[in-house]
Symmetry: C2
């Protein structure tokens, strides 16, 4: 192994989670320790901050604040959704990145995000290889969607799943206090993969969860849906709890949120439709059909930023993933993503492995069909066994005046 | 003082909270200890359960489960919104109550709820006095709205306020990760009183809360609102966080949720309009005006049932209020509500006092005008000083498999 001397930069990309900052803490803590790394930079708003030469000098941050990043939700450095062009079509951004890497002697690049971000990471990695600029590039997974390929699970998922499971149990109790019918439709994030919606089944496992769960993995059929709800309604004295992914679609590929919702449907820069309103559409439809009280509840941003309800397991693993990324890079690895590997055995243990960025970029891992029941309305014990270990342990941010004390970074811009 | 021997019944009424079951635990624990009380009953669905002779024998419950009620959200016995008629107009329900009280030798009646429930309690109390049936009747306050008269604050408020404050801080961090404009409108429960919406100012006090807060105490003016948002938008690079009460109205008395919302507006049995959609209406309007991304977030049921985020202070006070109700009744008091009295001094201390049910029934306590800033868009330090002590301490339900272990009552129906 050759020792590569130079500086390191870390960026956060895509939607925030409760633990993406914990990975940042892991990267910073480990990188600041390494002799071969002189300066550690944190990019403002991911790749955009690098292109614009806007990044922070992490060595100037108080170690106590870096420690607090572990329990601080959202993306402390700022995030971005920025799609790099195909380098064969437009090389502008790549030339600029090379220029900045050279100017700041950046030899270590760590990028933390979902599949779009791993695509960015992969493109930068391949470009640097092509032009012969020596640089170690490691991706770090992150997504509440849990849809990254080649990793047992993703940092951020366990915390979002814990929040969703616990909140669902609480809503279950709240929604049945009156002796009158009440249908409650919970809407959970997840465009194409239903992992997070599936986490509501952990509440059902404890006897206080949805009667029916609809994931985007299964084509949604409104008539089936209504008859399934009616069956539960009659069996349960009018009490029905339903969980749906925001991304459920009918057989023509139309989002259910588009059925009657008048919310604007914008496209973001990756071409994803801006979703919302699925639960409202369904609650309104059920109200028409069953003439009873219905309520649509969207977990909205809360499900991805509720650090007060994060999984301690998730926080710890995310931190270690950050440390591992640096260790792997220093040891000579490049062009890979750090992935989680669950060890065999009765007790949950999570180790690390490396996967090619190309295998992760833009791929999506969905909930296996065999973990969804035959009717497509619930999860099997296999899913419970998979997900339950990921939500263990309560991580609470330290408190000040009874309110969370989140990290406060100085964010001093690096200069050259 | 005369010792009154007989049985006791306790009922829960109105919307649930995170701590109404803690008061139940207090009442049950204390009532089961008292020699003068033979049987302790828990009414299913409040007054309705008494009318229908449907109540549970609490002595058959496991003491461990009664203890778990302290951290179990929602109304474990079931709640009700049932308005008793004016006894001079229709005495049917009252005669039936007297019949049931006599049949089961009920001499102690404890009723836990908001101002509508204190009205019920007051009517029953006055009727029993009129007909000369000896019975001690004590009301217990409960409401996330914090709008009961004659008490410093209400059980349930501190926990809801803690949830709202912490969640607001988390959303604040999440909503500003991209370097693009984003307006976030948070909708908080509160028909006529803005106490809970005001709790978002605790997040602002910690530097991570709304820029603008709108309470129902102040007439809402759409033009003012838009210019106030525009001013913040320009000052803060397009980042704006706004908190609104569901119950804000314009000068004609029209709810803002009615402006453009197509959500059904039903009336419940107390004639309250079913609210919802205020944040959506405002977010849509701001999107039109400012052509930027907006997001409406409704805390919905989550804010009143999030036991995982309850205030330990609130849980403990609610329990003690339950104990006190029994002690007062046994000591000879009737026709009163147990109220909180804040002691003078630099340290927060909360004691108890008694207030006449008549003074509480149907009265509403609003946020004082002098605690709202001149512009009507935020709270003063007086409010912070009032509310901050109420959210102190984290109460976490005991866990089992990493998920809350809520109380499981046997609910064995009492028979005669």
């Amino acid at each position: 192994m050759s020792v590569l001397k130079g500086n390191a930069i870390f960026g956060q990309s895509g939607g925030p989670t409760s633990v993406i900052n914990s990975s940042a803490a892991g990267v910073f803590t480990e990188a600041l320790k390494q002799d071969c790394i002189s300066e550690v930079f944190g990019a403002a708003h991911g790749i955009k901050g690098i292109l614009e030469e806007k990044f922070y000098d992490i060595s100037l941050e108080d170690p106590k604040e870096i420690e607090l990043l572990k329990t601080t939700p959202s993306s402390a450095l700022g995030s971005v959704r920025y799609k790099l062009a195909d380098p064969d079509v437009d090389g502008t951004d790549y030339k600029r990145l090379l220029e900045v890497f050279k100017k700041y002697d950046i030899r270590y690049f760590f990028y933390n995000g979902g599949n779009d971000s791993m695509d960015t990471c992969n493109k930068v990695s391949k470009y640097m290889q092509k032009v012969g600029y020596e640089c170690r590039i490691i991706g770090l997974p992150k997504t509440i969607d849990n849809d990254l390929a080649e990793t047992d699970h993703c940092p951020g998922y366990g915390s979002a799943a814990r929040y969703v499971a616990i909140s669902t149990m609480e809503v279950y109790h709240d929604a049945r206090v009156y002796d009158t019918p009440m249908i409650c439709v919970l809407e959970v994030m997840g465009r194409n993969a239903g992992w997070l919606t599936a986490a509501t089944s952990l509440a059902s496992y404890k006897g206080a969860g949805p009667d029916l769960i609809y994931l985007p993995e299964i084509v949604f059929d409104m008539d089936n849906f209504i008859s399934q709800v009616k069956a539960v309604y009659e069996k349960n004295n009018g009490k029905v709890i339903i969980a749906v992914s925001e991304g459920i679609k009918d057989k023509s590929g139309k989002y259910i949120s588009e059925y009657g919702s008048d919310l604007a449907k914008e496209k973001d820069s990756f071409g994803h439709a801006q979703l919302g309103g699925t639960a409202q559409v369904l609650a309104a439809r059920l109200k028409d059909e069953l003439k009873c009280k219905t309520r649509a509840i969207e977990f909205s941003l809360l499900q991805r930023c509720a650090a007060h309800c994060a999984s301690a397991t998730d926080v710890e693993e995310a931190f270690k993933a950050g440390e591992m990324a640096v260790k792997y890079a220093v040891s000579g690895i490049t062009d890979h993503m750090v992935a989680y590997e669950r060890e065999q055995g009765p007790e949950y243990k999570c180790g690390f492995k490396l996967v090619n960025l190309s295998a992760v970029a833009n791929a999506e891992k969905k909930v296996p069909r065999e973990w969804i029941n035959k009717e497509g309305t619930g999860l099997t014990q296999d899913f419970i066994d998979y997900a339950l270990p990921l939500i263990q342990g309560a991580s609470s941010p330290p408190m000040e005046d009874g309110l969370p004390r989140f990290a406060r970074l100085k964010k001093v811009l690096a200069t050259k």
